[in-house]
């Protein structure tokens, strides 16, 4: 990889100052996407500002409010006893990201800031209607994901946590790409007092998206069979060597049904 200068600030403010002072710096949260990208010379940041020393790790459940610190690893989310009762769907999703070694390093903040169209977390964040807390503001999930590899984050803005209200019921069903094992289609369904939200990752040509028709159908009947007669449109879906838009459309429906069945 190209040379770069590493920084490990010990506070959010110091991290913000470090990125502001760099020529073309980037944040390093777990590195499980950034480092492979750098190794392949597809990214060449001048500076790497490691966020793992600024104290953003940990999960708190306060009443029904769940807050996951940005540098909490996938393994920590997957194994959190608090989450297992507050939002098992999220814990299960985290336990299926990458592989065990990746889960020991990768972080929720890194994942959502990158907004890879095949990443798992964005679907949960969107379906749970979470709030992304940064060092400068709070951003609703519906506003946060703005397209493939693109978010509402400003330059140098740091995600500090993700906060959401625990749903009544939620689950994630993932159909992995046979090669990469990233989500070729993943559907997160969440039922809360205010309704049902369904978010789809891996399938949209614009990244993660909500599926309005499914939300309506599931709001009227929270059951897999509620989606039986629903036709998922191929419009706006990805098509590549692994899966056509038609196949992804099918997977969206099947995964959504399986997620609802799993959510119970």
């Amino acid at each position: 990889m190209y040379q770069a200068t590493y920084h490990k600030p010990s506070s959010v403010d110091a991290a913000a100052a470090a990125i502001a002072g760099s020529e073309d710096g980037t944040f390093l949260a777990g590195g499980q996407t950034l480092l492979p990208t750098m190794k392949q010379h597809l990214a060449a940041p001048s500076d790497l500002i490691d966020l793992r020393g600024v104290g953003l790790s940990g999960i708190t459940v306060d009443g029904s409010t769940v807050t996951v610190g940005a540098t909490t690893t996938h393994a920590e989310v997957a194994n959190s006893a608090a989450l297992a009762s507050a939002c098992p769907g999220l814990a299960k999703l985290a336990g299926g990201i990458g592989d065990p070694a990746v889960r020991h390093m990768g972080t929720i903040g890194g994942s959502i800031a990158n907004n890879d169209p095949a990443a798992d977390y964005p679907s949960a964040v969107l379906a749970l209607g979470a709030t992304i807390i940064t060092n400068t503001r709070e951003i609703a999930a519906d506003e946060f994901f703005t397209g493939m590899f693109s978010t509402a984050l400003d330059e140098g803005e740091i995600i500090t946590a993700v906060r959401f209200e625990a749903p009544e019921s939620s689950a994630y069903a993932k159909f992995p790409n046979p090669a990469s094992r990233y989500a070729m289609t993943g559907v997160f369904v969440a039922k809360t007092g205010s309704g049902v939200r369904v978010a789809v990752t891996g399938a949209g040509s614009d990244g993660v998206f909500r599926h309005a028709e499914m939300e309506v159908a599931l709001a009227s009947s929270w059951s897999a069979s509620a989606l039986d007669d629903l036709d998922v449109s191929e419009d706006g879906l990805l098509s590549d060597i692994h899966a056509s838009a038609a196949y992804r459309a099918n997977l969206i429906k099947v995964m959504a049904q399986r997620a609802v069945a799993a959510a119970g």
């Binding site: 040379q3 010379h41 046979p178 090669a179 060597i241 692994h242 899966a243 196949y247 099918n250 099947v254």
Partner: protein
């Protein structure tokens, strides 16, 4: 516990691997070592107008940037194909020139035009990006069938129409007549998908030129270091053989892809002389996808005729084989003599005709990959048999059984003479182990869970231990296919075996010791194997084509014969007995029926002290042998795959995989079963997951594990393995060969099972979830309309 033939001896070589002490090529570090990085073409097809090295040369730490004109200017020869194939019109194959560094034209994405030598790998790689190559891009011929079209771009000037050869085997007219008069002709089009071998250790080379000695040393990831030295010397003119040492240390898998001598090794050797530095190159996985020889890539039409009694009347095959941008070392023999000679399968087929057109394209060179030609043949025969059974409405196992060859030796219409086999027995064992009788009930139970269950057979036969040398020479081989061995008994009785076979996972350090331990009654820990170094082992043809058991071990047996003869002479002399009465047993050399004996180590000592040897006997106890087999060996077996398909997603799970193999004598069942596991896994990979994909411009789409689906643990079943042994009459141990069988036999079993489950034969490899789902959808449409 026995450590002889048939014992499940734990591997002797494991300790260094499980403790991280294996020595692979990238683990070697030479004094004064520099690093190479290649400047590779981003285009599939382009003229090279010029190379601007100035920016790279100006970088700190860059030692030199070398190009193809310098390389050819120094007399380094072109890479060659080592097997001459003659077209049906008598003309020789059209081999285009392949320089290790391209001079005027690049022919695939990854073709290298220059090399940077620098003080570190990171600097070398960055500098390689700073070398500016002026390309004049040409349109590319990417797909084999399209490359034959009249308006296709020309890859090599001396291969008009991109045709390398147009080769035939068998009797065309008789076969056409037989098909014309058949009661049924089954006609199928099949594609054998293009694969990337993917040994887990990427290729690497460390080359050192010693100016004072005018001598080169090359550490490299090779399956056959002596062949590498031979080719590097005789054809690529790097150095004469006595001035070149090639060492293949621990090698992390090969599967065929490390047979060949690639541009990188040649370039590193030459660059070490140019720069007076040790030059190291370690490929990464991306380079492996871009440069390691790919496998398979056939498009075929198969016609199989039957009479009214369902006996086969004739087989006609027309195949287009994609050989990529250059002819790799064994690229020509893979789709011809390693392929079409197996068209008879396990069946009596009175008339066979095959035509193979080999084609240049702007893709990575294609060569032998585990199975090499035989998986392509097996897939055709076993798919068309299954389709035939479905179209004829008969049981697929019984259709096969009805047509099995059951008398040996059996001369096929396509050169080979099968020497031994028991095809009925293989099928019976597999059916019993797979509980085929209970399949209907399992299928019904699966249906109750919404799953489609299917069962598929594959009765494979293959030919390995390719030989004898005179025969392969007459078919065009540039090399002999014997093997050498040397058995050295030391003065203390310990034994070193030098072998020309090369182990890169096959466990030779254990199995080869077993046959020596058994023969001389020496504890297995007192036997060691030396291999992989041209300075230590006199010569060898290496390990590929499942030849190390049948050919490599046979050479050891022949050398042991000579050792035994000398041991008996020494013992007879010292014990004052007749040679004929001497027996070697349990580590002792004794006179039959008496208590007169010598310990094994006493014989060793006697041979080297030479105080009391028979008159005129030379001192020492070391014998060598070159063994040239009398025939190929013919491993065969029956595989049964049972699958469940989720019709909602097309996901297929292999719920049971049964292998009944006939490998002849088995030296170490544990290791043989490991070979079957791995071979079947690669076969399942081909059937369900793996495919190299290029786009229309010749860009490699599947350039990493992000897009090329490697079989992972949860993709694969646990295997049930049975053995049904008929001893091979063509070598002294009765061994057949087990390294490739799984990769040959598994793909049709899997596809036959999936197509059985989903009720349509319109399915190609790899049967990914998407393809299976689409096949189910396509099949459902007309039914819905009914």
């Amino acid at each position: 516990m026995s450590t002889g033939i048939g014992a499940r001896v734990k591997r002797k070589e494991d300790k260094r691997f499980i403790t991280g002490k294996g020595k692979y090529t990238d683990d070697i570090r030479m004094e004064n070592q520099a690093y190479a990085a290649f400047v590779r073409s981003p285009h599939a097809h382009a003229m090279v107008k010029g190379i601007d090295k100035s920016a790279a040369l100006a970088m700190d730490g860059v030692i030199d940037v070398l190009d193809g004109h310098q390389l050819t200017g120094d007399g380094i020869g072109n890479l060659i194909c080592g097997w001459a194939i003659t077209s049906r019109d008598g003309s020789p194959m059209n081999m285009g020139a392949w320089s290790a560094l391209a001079t005027d034209k690049v022919r695939y994405v990854g073709d290298s035009v220059a090399v940077v030598i620098a003080e570190s790998q990171a600097i070398a790689r960055q500098a390689a990006e700073m070398v500016i190559v002026d390309y004049d891009e040409l349109s590319a011929a990417v797909f084999a069938d399209k490359a034959l079209e009249s308006d296709a771009p020309q890859v090599h000037d001396n291969a008009p129409g991109n045709l390398i050869f147009d080769w035939i085997i068998g009797e065309e007219e008789a076969t056409n007549d037989a098909l014309a008069s058949s009661a049924h002709v089954i006609d199928v089009d099949l594609t054998n998908n293009r694969l990337s071998p993917n040994p887990m250790e990427p290729r690497a080379a460390v080359a050192t030129f010693d100016e004072a000695e005018d001598h080169y040393t090359l550490y490299t990831t090779s399956q056959n270091p002596h062949v590498a030295r031979l080719v590097l010397s005789a054809f690529y003119q790097v150095a004469p053989e006595h001035k070149l040492r090639v060492i293949a240390p621990d090698v992390g898998g090969g599967f065929g892809s490390k047979i060949y001598i690639y541009p990188e090794e040649i370039t590193c050797l030459w660059a070490s002389m140019k720069t007076q530095r040790s030059v190291k190159w370690t490929g990464d996985r991306s380079e492996a996808f871009m440069t390691d020889a790919h496998g398979r890539d056939h498009i075929s039409n198969v016609k199989l005729g039957f009479d009214a009694n369902h006996k086969i009347t004739g087989l006609k095959v027309e195949t287009i084989a994609n050989l990529g941008a250059y002819m790799s070392l064994f690229s020509s023999v893979t789709p011809t003599y390693l392929h079409a000679t197996l068209y008879s399968g396990q069946y009596v087929i009175p008339n066979i005709f095959g035509n193979v057109k080999a084609v240049y394209t702007n893709t990575v060179p294609v060569d032998a990959y585990r199975g090499a030609g035989r998986p392509e043949a097996c897939y055709m025969i076993e798919r068309v048999m299954e389709v035939a059974a479905r179209q004829l409405g008969v049981d697929p196992a019984e259709l096969r059984r009805k047509n099995f060859i059951n008398e040996f030796p059996y001369q096929t219409p396509v050169i080979l003479t099968y020497d031994a086999g028991d095809f009925d027995g293989n099928l019976d064992k597999a059916k019993a182990a797979a509980d085929v009788a209970g399949f209907a009930a399992r299928k019904a139970e699966a249906a109750s869970r919404g799953k489609l269950r299917g069962l598929g057979y594959s009765c494979y036969i293959e030919a390995c231990g390719i030989a004898p040398s005179a025969a392969v020479g007459s078919l065009g081989s540039g090399v002999g296919l014997w093997e050498s061995a040397e058995v050295r008994v030391n003065p203390v009785g310990t034994i070193e075996v030098l072998t020309g076979s090369h182990s890169h996972g096959q466990g030779h350090e254990t199995t080869f010791c077993q046959i020596v331990s058994e023969r001389f009654g020496v504890p297995i820990e007192n036997v060691s194997i030396v291999h992989g170094d041209t300075d230590k082992v006199q010569f060898g043809m290496g390990t590929y084509g499942s030849r190390s058991g049948a050919v490599g071990m046979s050479a050891i047996v022949k050398a042991m014969d000579k050792v035994e003869a000398k041991v008996k002479k020494i013992a007879a002399h010292q014990l004052e007995a007749s040679e004929d009465d001497i027996v070697i047993e349990g580590g002792e050399v004794m006179v039959k029926g008496t208590d007169k004996k010598l310990a094994w180590h006493e014989i060793g000592l006697a041979a080297y002290t030479a105080h009391n040897l028979p008159p005129n006997m030379e001192p020492g106890l070391k014998e060598g042998a070159f063994y040239d087999p009398s025939n190929f060996t013919f491993p065969a077996g029956c595989y049964i795959a049972e699958v469940e398909v989720d019709p909602q997603t097309g996901v297929t799970e292999i719920v049971q995989f049964t292998a009944a193999d006939d490998f002849g004598t088995i030296i170490n069942p544990m290791i043989v079963e490991g070979q079957v596991h791995g071979g079947v896994a690669q076969g399942i990979g081909q059937a369900m997951l793996e495919e190299v994909v290029y786009d229309d411009d010749g860009q490699l789409i599947t350039g990493s594990y992000m897009d090329y689906a490697m079989p992972r643990a949860d993709d694969l079943p646990f295997y049930t393995i049975e053995h049904n042994t008929t001893v091979c009459p063509s070598n002294p141990l009765g061994i057949k060969g087990c390294g490739e069988a799984g990769a040959i036999g598994a793909p049709p079993a899997v596809i036959n099972a999936i197509t059985d489950a989903i009720g349509t034969d319109e399915l190609s490899m790899p049967a990914t979830p998407q393809k299976v789902w689409m096949a189910i959808q396509a099949n459902a449409v007309p039914q819905a309309a009914e």
